[in-house]
Symmetry: none
Subunit: 277 residues, 2 copies
C-alpha cells in the first residue's frame, strides 16, 4: 500500500516479544509464529511448553519457521520477562482486584511508544485456563480482546494474531508520524527483575514488623503489587523505596541487638547481687 512504508528493521518490531506460557499444543506455537511473521514481529519466548520442538509446530508455522529456530525456551515467566520494562498480560476474565485494563489498540499504542526505548512483553496463557492470577500480578497492565460473550473462546494463535495485528497497525502509524503518546522521564523505568526483588524485600520487612502474618499476606501483597506495577516505578524511585526498607530493617536489627545486650547485662548484674547477699 503506497501510504504504508513498513519498516521491519525498526527497533519496535524487535523489541516486542511474544511470551507463551505453558502451551499444550505445538500447533498453536506454530500458528503464533506464523501470525508474528505475518505482522513483522520476530521475538518469541516459550515458558515451559508441553511439547516443543515438534513437527506440528513447524507445519503450522508455514513461512514462520525461522522464528521457531530463534525461539527462546525458559522454565519460568520471571526469566522470560526479567529484562522487560513493560509487561502486558492477556486476560479473559474480570479480576477480583481489577488491574489497569487496556483495549488491544491501547495496548499496541503503548507498546509502540515504549518499544522505541526498551523491551516490551505480551504474555499469553494456557489454551484452557489462560494466565494464573500470580502471573497476571506480574504485569503492568492487562489487555482484553472483547470477543462475543456468546462464544469468547479465542484460539491462542488467534489472540496472538489480533495483538500482533494491532501492534503492526500502531507501528505503521508511528512510522508515518502518526499519533503516539509517550511522556519523557528523567529516569529509566525499573525492570521486572528489580521489581520482583523489591516485592520480596517488602514482604520480609512487613512480616518483620508483624504487619503481615506469614500465613496469609496474599490480598495485601496483591494490592501492593498492583499499586507499584501500575505506577511504572523508575530506577531512582525503586532505589528510594529499597532504601526505606533497608533503613527499617537496620533499625529492627540494631534495636533487637541493643535489647538483647541490655537484658544480658541485667541478668548478670542480678546474679552478682544475689551472690553478694
Amino acid at each position: 500500500m503506497s501510504t504504508v512504508k513498513p519498516n521491519n528493521d525498526a527497533e519496535h518490531f524487535k523489541r516486542v516479544r511474544i511470551v507463551l506460557v505453558n502451551t499444550s499444543h505445538p500447533g498453536n506455537i506454530g500458528g503464533a509464529a506464523r501470525a508474528m511473521k505475518n505482522m513483522g514481529l520476530v521475538s518469541l519466548y516459550l515458558v515451559a511448553p508441553k511439547k516443543f520442538p515438534d513437527p506440528e509446530a513447524n507445519w503450522r508455522a508455514a513461512g514462520g519457521e525461522d522464528l521457531l529456530d530463534s525461539v527462546v525456551v525458559v522454565d519460568t515467566l520471571d526469566e522470560a520477562i526479567a529484562d522487560c520494562k513493560l509487561v502486558i498480560g492477556t486476560s479473559a476474565r474480570e479480576r477480583r482486584i481489577p488491574w489497569p485494563l487496556l483495549t488491544p489498540k491501547e495496548c499496541a499504542d503503548q507498546a509502540v511508544a515504549e518499544s522505541q526505548v526498551h523491551d516490551v512483553a505480551f504474555v499469553f496463557g494456557r489454551e484452557d485456563r489462560g494466565l494464573t492470577n500470580e502471573e497476571l500480578h506480574k504485569c503492568n497492565a492487562h489487555v482484553h480482546i472483547p470477543a462475543n460473550p456468546a462464544y469468547s473462546a479465542l484460539n491462542l494463535a488467534t489472540a496472538v494474531q489480533v495483538l500482533c495485528y494491532e501492534f503492526r497497525m500502531s507501528a505503521l502509524a508511528y512510522e508515518r508520524g502518526g499519533p503516539v503518546h509517550f511522556d519523557d522521564w528523567d529516569q529509566p523505568p525499573a525492570d521486572n527483575k528489580a521489581l520482583e526483588a523489591y516485592y520480596e524485600h517488602l514482604r520480609q520487612t512487613l512480616e518483620a514488623l508483624s504487619f503481615l502474618e506469614p500465613g496469609n499476606p496474599r490480598q495485601t501483597m496483591t494490592r501492593l503489587r498492583r499499586l507499584y506495577n501500575r505506577i511504572r516505578l523508575d530506577d531512582m524511585e525503586l532505589s528510594i523505596l529499597r532504601g526505606i526498607l533497608t533503613a527499617t530493617n537496620n533499625y529492627i536489627y540494631h534495636t533487637d541487638n541493643k535489647i538483647e545486650a541490655l537484658e544480658k547485662e541485667l541478668a548478670s548484674l542480678r546474679q552478682q547481687s544475689d551472690q553478694k547477699s
Copy 2:
C-alpha cells in the same frame, strides 16, 4: 467486561455478511466461521466452494458450527452480493487501475455506519490467487491488510479474523458512542487531604528511621510525592500504606520504651550494688 456492552442483536452484526469465493480447503471455511462467531457476526455466504459441506469444516469451526448450518451456498459472486449496498473486496496486490482502498479500520467504520440501514458484504478470494480483477471491479471499495511484505501470505481464516475483529471494535465503539475504554475500579480514589496526611506521616516516619535528615528531606520527599501522586492512590491502597507507617511507628515506640525501661532498671541495680559494697 463490565465496561463493554456488546449487543449481538444489533442490526449491524446481522447486516454484515462474509462472502468466501471459491474456497479450496474446507478447514478455512470452518476457521472463518469460528472467527465470525468469536466476533459476533452471523451471516456466511460461500460462492462455489470446492469442498462443502465437509467434516473438516465442522472440526475447524469449533463452536461456530451453527454458522455453517445457516450458511448460504451460491454459484456466483453476483448472487452472493445482489442485495448488498456496500461491497468491500479484500485485495493483496496493488491494482493497475487503483480502486478506493481502505485500511481494515476504515473498512470497519464504514461497514458499521452503513449496516445501520442496509446490507454490507466483505468479500474474500481464493487461498492462492485471491479475487480476480473482474470480481474486484464489482466492489465499491477494496480493503488491504498491510502485512509484513517479507511474508504477507495471510491465511484466509486469518484475514477473515482481522476484518471481523476490526468490525467488532468499531461496532462496540458505535454502540457505546465512544471507544472501548477502561475506567471502573474497585475503590474510590483518595482525596488530596488524605494524601497530604500520608506525606506528613511518611516524612515523620522516615525521619524517625533516620532515613531523612530533618535538615534537607526535599529531593527524596519530592520524588516520593511524584511517585504517589501520579499513581492515583485509591482509598484502600492509601489505608494499607498508612497501616505500614503505623506498624513501623508502633515498633519504634515500643522498642524505645523497652530500651528506656531496661536502662532505668540497670541504673538502679548498679546503684544498689554500689551501696552494698
